[in-house]
């Protein structure tokens, strides 16, 4: 089980267009819809918003990890997006977010999948991991960094 089962270059957007929280969530979910991972956009957007209402997934240090568990998700996947300007994501440290990971998993998920996602989450805590993502120049670079997890 490798990281590239969840993410590939098509799921990486190096420059997000959105300027605020709601639209960046939608923009990230659109990536999933385009790649056929999400079958019902409305449903997934709603689930993501519900999760944010319970507590923001803007975990600080410039990282946000919106996530959705839903039957409208066909397979466990991760989309990565970056904003060079930073977006106000209502973060816990009240600073703008630059790195976005949207994690989508079906209701019934294999433990192996969830373990990889847990590993990804763990890595986001490390400064050098985040820095290298901020400095990556292409989707290829990002994949390389993620594959090294």
């Amino acid at each position: 089980m490798e990281v590239n089962e969840f993410i590939n270059q098509d799921l990486i957007k190096m420059e997000l267009q959105s300027k605020d929280k709601d639209s960046v969530i939608e923009e990230m979910i659109d990536i999933m819809v385009e790649n056929g991972i999400v079958s019902d956009k409305e449903e997934v957007v709603q689930k993501a918003m519900e999760r944010e209402a319970k507590g923001t997934t803007g975990v600080g240090r410039g990282v946000a990890i919106p996530h959705v568990k839903s039957n409208a998700v066909k397979k466990a996947a991760v989309a990565f997006g970056r904003s060079s300007e930073g977006i106000d994501y209502d973060s816990m440290d009240e600073k703008p977010s630059y790195l976005f990971f949207l994690i989508t998993v079906p209701e019934e998920s294999h433990n192996e999948h969830l373990k990889i996602l847990a590993q990804l989450s763990r890595n986001l805590v490390h400064d050098d991991f985040r820095d290298s993502l901020l400095e990556a120049e292409s989707a290829e670079d990002v994949m390389e960094i993620l594959e090294a997890i």
Partner: protein
């Protein structure tokens, strides 16, 4: 070295995908930097990982719970607990660890509160243990019940064809007897023991439990022997499971090879050398004791025979009484046999009556089991009472013994005699088989009512009945 602080932590979040693990990582990272020992248990979507051991908790100076879900404090009684939202651990784990250690330093856990909580905890544990053994027993009984009912009814139907019809091979009656007696009833005790053991030790417990139960049958130790075998097998398997640790690549052998083999061996040997001899001794001892009593007071003999019939329903004590009665038939003495059969009928009959009259003292399953118990009772299939007795031996066995003793004594007093060694009410209408038929029936009815009343007294009301 010894002044290095130690912290245990639990992280958890509602979806259990991201925050749980980020918080865990942050805490571990910060602790490393601060030279603090830490163990973090994550309660996420994968389930509980890196579960804190009792040792971890005992050694910890402070506890951190970083969770947006409900994490139980029970394990951490007597420790200083710093409880925060999961986000706080991700944001500033260093500050959180400092806060927890400072709190612990100030000793914010009051000793008396901790002690009281500990006492409560201990009580709760003991209670849990009690319901534990009861739960194991109930699991075994509920798996055994269908075997008793199916087997008992098959045997009862075979009597309809005439009392000795089953002895002629090739007949339907013989087939029914084979289904009920040779198959279903033979499985009864092994199933009971197997599922008691399963309840204790999970799947690896089934094989040693059933094997132990089978040996209880072969040693003629009856269902009480089966209960012993089941608990023995369960706890032995559980013990081995905890004590034996194999290298990781051999772990797969544990549940299919190591545990079943070693536990079955241990239980089997224990059954043969520890349970077998006393059972044999009881049986032969009781038999010769009864032989000596042939001339004793008739009512007293009936009382004793009756109580013996009900004591273990197919175990050594019951067998001793039954063998005694059948032996006397050869000497043309018919009264003890009558007492024995009557006393063997009242346990299921009395229980069936009690489930009708005192519904609030039985589980729903038992009330259902009461219906086939009528049929088994009138057919002299004492085994019909086993599921009730196995579920609650301390109350049920004395109750049915009392009822059977009364029946046995009355039958002897009334001078009833019986020339057939089995058959229940199916033999009663056959001319010449029973002497003093009317009074004999009265003895059975009286014992049935006494049994039911005894159950009313001994069994407590169930809650939520």
């Amino acid at each position: 070295m010894s002044d290095k602080k130690k912290i245990v932590a639990v992280t958890s979040c509602p979806t259990g995908i991201a925050h749980t693990y980020m918080a865990s990582e942050s805490l571990e990272e910060a602790a490393k930097k601060m030279n603090v020992d830490i163990s973090v248990e994550t309660q996420g979507s994968v389930g509980v990982e890196n579960e804190l051991s009792e040792q971890d908790i005992k050694e910890a100076d402070a506890v951190i719970i970083a969770a947006d879900t409900n994490v139980s404090h029970e394990r951490f009684v007597g420790k200083y607990i710093e409880e925060v939202a999961v986000a706080d651990a991700i944001n500033d784990a260093e500050a959180l660890i400092n806060k927890a250690l400072e709190g612990a330093e100030k000793g914010e856990v009051k000793e008396d509160v901790a002690l009281e909580a500990q006492v409560e905890d201990e009580k709760a544990k003991r209670k849990q243990k009690r319901t534990g053994a009861y739960k194991h027993l109930m699991t075994g009984v509920s798996f055994m019940l269908p075997f008793v009912v199916a087997g008992g009814l098959a045997i009862a139907i075979s009597f309809v064809f005439g009392i000795d019809a089953a002895e002629e091979s090739g007949t339907l009656a013989a087939a029914l007897m084979q289904i009920g007696g040779d198959a279903a009833f033979a499985l009864m005790v092994p199933i009971l023991a197997g599922y008691i053991s399963f309840s204790i030790a999970d799947r690896p417990g089934i094989a040693p439990g059933m094997i132990g139960g089978m040996m209880a049958s072969q040693l003629e130790a009856g269902f009480l022997g089966g209960i012993i075998a089941g608990f023995l097998a369960g706890y032995v398997t559980q013990f081995l499971k905890e004590k034996i640790s194999l290298p990781k690549n051999l772990e797969g052998l544990m549940p299919i090879l190591v545990l079943p083999f070693l536990a079955s061996l241990a239980v089997g040997l224990l059954m043969i050398y520890l349970i077998g001899p006393p059972v044999q001794a009881i049986m032969t001892g009781l038999e010769s004791w009864l032989q000596g009593m042939t001339d004793a007071n008739a009512a007293l003999l009936g009382l004793i025979l009756g109580a013996m019939m009900a004591f273990d329903m197919g175990g050594p004590v019951n067998k001793a009484a039954y063998t005694f009665g059948v032996g006397l038939l050869g000497s043309n003495i018919f009264a003890p046999m009558a007492a024995i059969m009557a006393a063997g009928m009242t346990p299921p009959l009395g229980l069936a009556l009690a489930t009708v009259l005192f519904k609030d003292r039985f589980t729903r399953q038992e009330i259902e089991a009461g219906k086939p118990a009528w049929v088994m009772g009138i057919s002299f299939i004492t085994e019909g009472a086993i599921p009730f007795a196995a579920a609650d031996p301390i109350r049920v066995i004395p109750s049915i013994m009392t009822g059977s003793a009364v029946t046995g004594a009355l039958s002897m007093l009334f001078g009833a005699g019986l020339r057939a060694p089995h058959g229940g009410i199916f033999v009663l209408p056959i001319p010449g088989v029973v002497t003093n038929l009317g009074l004999y029936a009265l003895a059975i009815v009286a014992g049935t009512i006494v049994t039911a009343l005894m159950l009313r007294i001994t069994k407590p009301k169930l809650k939520n009945a």
